[in-house]
């Protein structure tokens, strides 16, 4: 998609305007139910960044979104719409749990954790492999197959968590507590003498940021990445240029699935310390909005993830603070922000272009 805007306006002004518009409309909704929008905004921002431990929660959510956002973005470089992040993350979690359940009584934690991380990626990739294969060889659209695989993954997890993997002596579908846990950031900070409020934030965020660098290198600095982008721009052109389209599609889907699968480490051996049902909680789908808003670029995805993390955590604090703002209200506010910055992202493009063009002409003159 070509934009009539200068690059700085496209990357900075448009997202900021969209956000402003979203907050304006959300503020109207808050005012409608009789609360002070300004106070709500304050609570939301303080709840996301200022309250003790809140920044940790924001970054913890952001870690999930970085992984799922990257997963969507990588596939999207090849114009593949992987909306199966939810299922790939769930199966990634299964991989993590299986490795930990099998090995953590025998091996030291420092050995189990790398294996668990590897398992998250491999299981996630495996779950994306079949849709990729079907797309590449049979033309079955990944949008359909990946979303169907989400249901299969959910069903598989339920069967295992209410059966073979269920912790005995209680009713919740969950595994026993795992021993090989990623260190929490507040524990590390406390160990070096900095007092930090507890939060689920753990070292997965470092892995997430490394994944960002990895994706950037892969997509923009390798021949493979060039083939992927070529395929994304035009499949006939890629074919003509000698790109092995089916193989590229499958590999891209596997990388995408691996990234989604990695989200599991932030949850299973990060926040939860066990495999539970539905821990993916829609993060896989939110990853689509994150990738869209981040323009499928790692830097954009990190920023969008921060925004969404802040929305999740700030939203939680909103419903703590206000009687009238329950979780459905929070969903409405979050939805408005997603609507304006995702779905309506290009709404302001033309008006802004008209506004900027005369000045651009002047500059040329």
């Amino acid at each position: 998609m070509t934009t009539p805007l200068p690059r700085w306006a496209d990357l900075l002004v448009i997202p900021l305007l969209n956000l402003l518009l979203a907050f304006l409309v959300a503020g109207l909704v808050v005012a409608l139910i009789g609360e002070n929008p300004w106070r709500a905004l304050t609570v939301m921002l303080q709840g996301a960044f200022v309250y003790p431990g809140s920044l940790g929660y924001t970054l913890y959510y952001a870690t999930n979104f970085i992984f799922t956002g990257l997963a969507v973005a990588v596939a999207f470089q090849a114009r593949l719409f992987n909306i199966g992040g939810e299922g790939q993350a769930a199966i990634g979690g299964l991989g993590v749990a299986l490795v930990c359940l099998a090995l953590d009584p025998y091996l030291p934690v420092v050995l189990v954790i790398p294996l668990a991380i590897l398992a998250a990626a491999i299981f996630g990739a495996g779950w994306a492999f079949l849709p990729g294969l079907l797309q590449a060889t049979r033309g079955s659209h990944v949008v359909i197959t990946t979303i169907m695989f989400n249901f299969i993954a959910a069903g598989l997890l339920v069967a295992l968590l209410t059966g073979a993997l269920m912790r005995p002596g209680q009713s919740t579908p969950q595994t026993r507590n795992l021993d090989a846990l990623l260190p929490k950031v507040h524990e590390i900070l406390r160990a070096v003498g900095i007092d930090a409020a507890p939060s689920p934030l753990n070292v997965s965020i470092v892995i997430a940021l490394l994944a960002c660098v990895g994706v950037w290198l892969l997509v923009w600095r390798t021949p493979f990445g060039f083939r992927v982008r070529t395929l994304g721009e035009s499949e006939p052109a890629a074919r003509y240029a000698g790109v092995a389209v089916p193989r590229t599609v499958i590999v891209v889907m596997c990388i995408s699935g691996a990234l989604a699968g990695l989200m599991a480490i932030n949850e299973v051996i990060g926040a939860q310390g066990k495999l539970v049902l539905n821990y993916t909680a829609g993060y896989g789908f939110t990853g689509i909005a994150v990738a869209l808003m981040g323009r499928s670029h790692p830097v954009g995805i990190v920023l969008a993830s921060l925004l969404f993390g802040a929305l999740y955590q700030g939203g939680t604090e909103l419903s703590f603070e206000f009687d009238t703002i329950d979780r459905e209200m929070v969903l409405v506010i979050q939805g408005l922000i997603i609507l304006f910055s995702g779905a309506l992202a290009f709404m302001l493009e033309r008006p802004l272009a008209r506004l900027l063009t005369p000045r651009a002409r002047l500059a040329h003159g």
Binding site: G155, S171, L277, T316, D323
Partner: protein, 333 residues
């Protein structure tokens, strides 16, 4: 409950508060994923909370979780804000409340549908659903003309098999040659909210001869009741009085008084009578019961009521022991 933002900053000061005196009485409730208007379990708790608020005029801090991480986050936040007692709703919060109750030993906690934790400041409620189910099993067996009755469960978990097992025992004790058809809606949480499938299962049971169908399936059960009503048969509701779902087609309902558990928790804390420990509520403690009022007087006839009362008295007296599925994960029938 309007809490100013700065209060969070001084939450630490509130942590020193120990006994639940009038000034620092700040009860908090953390509902589970279903939300407090789920027409089922969480709503039952909400009814108890509402009754407490209406009677005392006290405010109760509330939160409804939307993802796994929020469970411990919400319980911790409530504790930080001086919530005392903090009531967790549903067994899914068991692990989280276990940790938070350990972190805040000077505050009181309570949880519903859990009986396996061990904390000196935690009260746990569990219910003898098998006893209530036994009674409605007696009613189903007596009311049935075909000798075949049905059970539709929600998600296939031990708790729901406990309902089914108690029901079967009640039916068989009353009519040993009866047939009990048993179906679970599914194995995912979606099974709690699938009225279409509930209706299908009920219809298939009716096709196989059932004329009374008992459900323990949350929102799915609404489909069960409507399908049974459409076929001109009778349904048995669960958790709360479900007569209104389909008047004239609901024989009775097995009541699970989670509202009492919530109300008692808050009231005991307010009056300084809060005690930790496990409270198992059965027929004797009015924790489970059945509906017999003017609405279903024509359906639940005198002789059925008499038989149910007799069974109830015997269970309370210990003359009848209803096997609890959860004791050994199996049903003798």
């Amino acid at each position: 409950m309007t809490v100013k933002p700065w209060l969070a900053g001084v939450a630490g000061a509130l942590l020193c508060a120990t006994a639940a005196t009038a000034q620092d009485f700040k009860p908090a409730v953390v509902y589970d994923m279903g939300g407090k208007f789920d027409k089922s379990f969480n709503e039952g708790v909400w009814n108890g909370v509402k009754r407490f608020m209406d009677e005392t005029g006290d405010d109760v801090m509330e939160f409804e979780v939307t993802n796994e991480t929020q469970r411990s986050q919400a319980l911790t936040r409530m504790a930080q804000r001086g919530g005392n007692p903090v009531l967790g709703v549903g067994f899914a919060q068991a692990d989280a409340i276990d940790v938070v109750a350990g972190d805040y030993p000077d505050q009181m906690f309570a949880i519903i549908d859990v009986n396996w934790l061990d904390r000196p400041n935690l009260r746990q409620y569990s219910f003898k659903e098998h006893e209530g189910s036994y009674l409605v099993g007696v009613a189903a067996a007596m009311k049935s003309e075909t000798g075949t009755v049905g059970f539709v469960g929600g998600m296939d978990i031990p708790l729901i098999r406990k309902f089914a097992c108690g029901y079967k025992q009640g039916v068989m004790a009353t009519k040993p040659d009866a047939t009990v058809l048993e179906n679970m809606t599914g194995t995912t949480p979606a099974a709690w909210n699938d009225p279409t499938k509930g209706a299908e299962l009920a219809r298939s049971q009716i096709d196989r001869g059932a004329d009374i169908v008992y459900h323990a399936a949350g929102g799915t059960g609404l489909g069960v009741i409507r399908a049974v009503a459409d076929e001109g048969k009778l349904a048995i509701g669960v958790d709360s009085d479900q007569y209104a779902v389909s008047p004239g087609a609901v024989l009775t309902s097995m009541l699970k008084r989670v509202d009492n558990a919530a109300y008692d928790t808050l009231m005991d804390a307010k009056n300084g009578n809060f005690t930790p420990g496990i409270k198992t509520l059965g027929l004797a403690e009015d924790g489970v019961d059945y509906v017999a009022d003017e609405n279903n007087a024509d359906l639940l006839t005198e002789d059925i009521r008499a038989a149910m009362e007799e069974a109830k008295a015997k269970i309370v007296a210990g003359e009848i022991t209803v096997h609890n599925y959860e004791d050994d994960q199996s049903c003798p029938l």
